[in-house]
Each structure stands twice: as C-alpha cells, then as structure tokens.
Amino acid sequence: MNNAIIEIKQVWKEYGDQVVLEKLNLSVQAGEFISIVGASGCGKTTLLNMLLGTESPSRGTLLLDGKPMPAEPNATRGIVFQKYSVFPHLNALQNVMLGDEFSASPFLGKVVFAKPRKKLQAKALEMLKAVGLEDAAMRYPSELSGGMQQRLAIAQALVKAPRILLLDEPFGALDPGIRKDMHELISRLWKKLGLTVFMITHDLSEGFSLGSRVWVLDKPRIDPQQPERYGAQVVYDISLTSEQKIPQSIQNLLGKTAQDVYDISLNSEQKLPDSIQNLLDNTAQDKAV
C-alpha cells in the first residue's frame, strides 16, 4: 500500500510509565472518512494530536504521503475544533481569507493591495457559498450561531486544500437539528472535494452514519493493579462501504460477545445490531442523546 496517504506503523505513545496508545498499525487511503470513537481518556485526542503534529509518537513511525509527519502543525493538515476554531476579531470573509493572506504576504500576513485582495475575496466568497454562509460574509463570529461558526471553521480550513482534514468533535456542542445539517454538509464536501477526513466523536450513531470507516479505540487488556500499564488500541476497524463483509479478524473479535456476523452498510437505514451497540456502549458512556 504505497499510495496510502497516512501510514501508522507500530506507533506507541507513552507518558512516562503511562501507556496511552499501543501497537497502532493502520493505513489510510486518500478519500477515506474515518470516524474515531471511544471512551473519554482512551487516547482519541492523543491520536488526533499526533496526526496534527502537536505530539509525536514515542515509538514507531507516522507517515504522511510516505514522508515522516512534520513535528508541528502546518498547512498540510486542516483542523476544526469543537470551539474557538475561528478568529473573533475578523469577520467571516476575513476569517476565510486569512489562510491565503498568510501565504501571499509573509511579512504583514495581510494583502493590502486592492487587486490581489479582490481575487482572494472572490475565492473566499466561493468557499463561504460552499458552506452556505454567503449571506453572513460581513458578520463577526460573535454574531453567528454555533452551527454557522462551525461552517465557517470548515470553510477556513478548506481554503488551504489540506491533505487531511481533522475534526475534533466538531458538532459536539450543537443542537441535534443543526447537527444533522452539519452532517449533510460535511458528507457533501467530503464527496465533492475528495477529502481525507479524520473525525473524533462521542456520538456512536454519528460515527457510524458519516464517512466510510470507523475506528473504535479501547484498551483490550486491563491490569486492575496498574491500569496505566496497557494502552488503547484500535480494537475495531470497521469499513462502512456498502456490501463489504467485515473482515474475519474483526468478526472474531466481535464473536467474543456475539455470534452474529455484521455487515453494516452506510447507505441503508439499517440499525446497528444490539450486541454491537452494547459492546460499543462500554466505550462511550457519554454517548450523545
């Protein structure tokens, strides 16, 4: 798999004696949409931080396009956080333009001449239109609703055409109705632009209904005397593409608690089997209602 966009090879993350993540071996193709689910404190955010570049693996290698992941955030990886993803002192249009202004003007970080500025504005407006914010271009983030702020954050990140887009519980603070709109938006953008997306979520149904692949992070082994001894792994790597059988290895894992064979398709309205739901519930106590 040489054309993988992200390769995670034997990656461990430890803080002193505490093992957070262990033995991660994963490979991601361009265009995949991966939902990462798991209990609080199981290392979802650590995994995301490693993809973002704010943390590096203790052991193993993390490759982006076959090259080691840069050790600090840069324009190859876009991110949308749950909060504070946009700049409060800039209006929506300026927020979206900012990424291009940084590359166009190394010293000021601001494009002051009218002609190139017009060009950037046009591009930013186009992006705002793509996320449905063209009517709010002149408004400051404090004048936007939570959902609109997240739309803006997505538009802002996409302007730089990042290789991968990281979403850190992007819809966690939104109302259910708004959340559904956002799901449609992100699915549409993903398909239209061929993005590679990693999304952390607490909401299992969100994880299983969006995107093409689900990673379930959990600790397969627990030492009761020394809970920090073992780290979390991706215990289930479930492909959600239609008609595809879940690989034998995962069936075996699931078989520990259930005999059924799961074939979960994103496209159908099929409900998750209760046994898998129960299994996953252990890992997501704070599942959103």
Partner: protein, 273 residues
C-alpha cells in the same frame, strides 16, 4: 419585593447617581458658611465666590509675573507629560506583553525581570531618575513609564497567554509562521484589553505625574498645587483637583468610546456557542 430585586428606572437612577454629589455640596456649603461666620478670613473651606474668583484669576487672567494663563499652561505641561508617558508605556506593554505571551523563549528571558521591576516602588527610584535624567521633562515621563509599563506588560502577557490554544493551532494549520500569528492573530485581539489596562492604570499615571511635578517642575498641575499649598490657598487647590478629576474622567471616557468604536467584535460579544 426584595431589595436585591428592585431596579431603579432611568430617571430614578440618574437622580440616585447625583444624590451623593448634591449631599456633599450641601454639607460643604453649610460647613464653609459656619466657619466663615466665625472667622471671615478662614482659608480652609472657602466660599463659592472665592472659588469663582480663583478660577477667574488662574484660568482667564494673564499672570502678572509671566503674562501666561496659568491653568492652561499647567494643564498643557501636565497633559503632555502624562500622554507621552502613557503612550510609551502602552507601546512597551503591547510589544513585550505579546512577545512574552507568544514566545516561551522570550518569556523565560524577560518575565522574571519584568516581575522584579514591577516590585520596586517607583517613587523609591525617583531620586535615581532625577540624578540620571536630570530635572527636566524626561525624568517625569520616565517615572510614569517605570510606574505603569510593568503592570501593562504583565496584564497583556497574561491576556496573550490566555488566547485559546485552538486558535493558535488553527492559525498554524493555515500556514502562518510565528511572526504572522503575532501580528494577525494575537496583536489585534490584545488591543481591546490594552485599552482596558490603560484605563485602569491612568490613575497610577496621574499619581506618578503629580508626584514628579511636586518635587521638580516649573509648571504643571501638580507643581501648582504643591506651590500654593504654602499659602493655604484652598480656593485654588480645590478647583485644580476638580479639574484633574475632570481631565481623568474625560480621558477614561474617550478610551472607552474608542474601544467600543474600534473593536465592535469585542464588545458585541454574544455567548460563544
């Protein structure tokens, strides 16, 4: 209804705002009358007419000795020192505050020094300033700078450090370098807190100004007050004090208006979702 739940309406509020001032004026008038009745040459609580005379003399009649209108000369001298001192302090506070807040290397280097300087009472080094910078304008401006810039630096450094880390990460994923993040992300967001911090330190700035002028100056509001203190000229001192308070109030209001006008995004802040 509980007292804590009863809110005065607009007219009532304005009346209540004015009430303490009116009471103070009435008390003063009675006390002044009583003293003057006993001793017409009493200087401690002058009558309103003496104030009017003093204002007329200081503000609208050329001085016999120099031919200048003393109040305006004093005000111009004091305001020049004050504004210069505050402006330079604000600039220092902004630059060092943002740099310290954003760059751990700079913070490690400068933060202990700033803290140490801020712990020295500025009045204690006033003699040093007079020795080093002479008795001219520079030493008085320096006193204001040394007095308030450490406060501004520390406040703005904390404000910069408390910018959400998500914002700084986001800016990095937009391809910005450290300099660009300081200029486009941190600096503009620190300007409104700078104005609040300057408003809060204006009181200290006036304190240092008056103190500096009291000790060595040839004109200025503080100089005049301390000069005429020898003659117990309360009829001049009290209007001067009131004038200083008015100037301070106007500056504070101007800064508040400037902030509201220039940073609508900061003041129109709704609850962040």
């Amino acid at each position: 209804m509980r007292l804590m739940n009863s809110k005065p309406n607009r007219a009532m509020r304005i009346a209540l705002n004015l009430l303490p001032f009116v009471i103070l004026l009435i008390i003063y008038t009675f006390a002044s009358d009583a003293r003057l009745l006993e001793n017409p040459s009493d200087k401690l609580l002058p009558a309103w007419s003496s104030f009017a005379d003093a204002v007329e003399r200081m503000a609208f009649t050329p001085s016999k000795r120099t031919g200048e209108y003393l109040l305006w000369v004093d005000s111009a001298a004091s305001l020049q020192r004050l504004l210069l001192g505050v402006a330079i302090s604000a600039l220092i506070g902004l630059v060092i505050g943002v740099v310290n807040g954003m760059l751990p290397v700079m913070r490690a280097t400068l933060s202990p020094l700033v803290t140490a300087i801020s712990l020295i009472p500025p009045m204690a080094i006033l003699p040093i300033l007079f020795i080093v910078f002479g008795l001219g304008e520079l030493s008085k401006v320096m006193l204001i700078i040394i007095g308030i810039s450490p406060i501004l630096i520390r406040d703005l450094q904390l404000r910069t450090q408390s910018l959400p880390v998500e914002q700084l990460l986001k800016a990095q994923t937009l391809g910005a370098n450290s300099w660009q993040i300081m200029v486009r992300v941190a600096l503009p967001q620190i300007l409104p807190p700078l104005i609040s911090a300057v408003r809060l330190t204006l009181g200290s700035a006036w304190l240092f100004l008056i103190a500096g002028e009291a000790i060595a100056a040839t004109e200025g509001l503080g100089y005049r007050i301390f000069l005429i203190r020898r003659y117990l000229a309360m009829d001049v001192i009290l209007p001067y004090v009131l004038w200083i308070a008015i100037l301070a109030f106007v500056m504070d209001s101007l800064l508040r208006l400037l902030s509201a006008k220039a940073f609508p995004w900061y003041h129109g802040k709704r609850e962040q979702a």
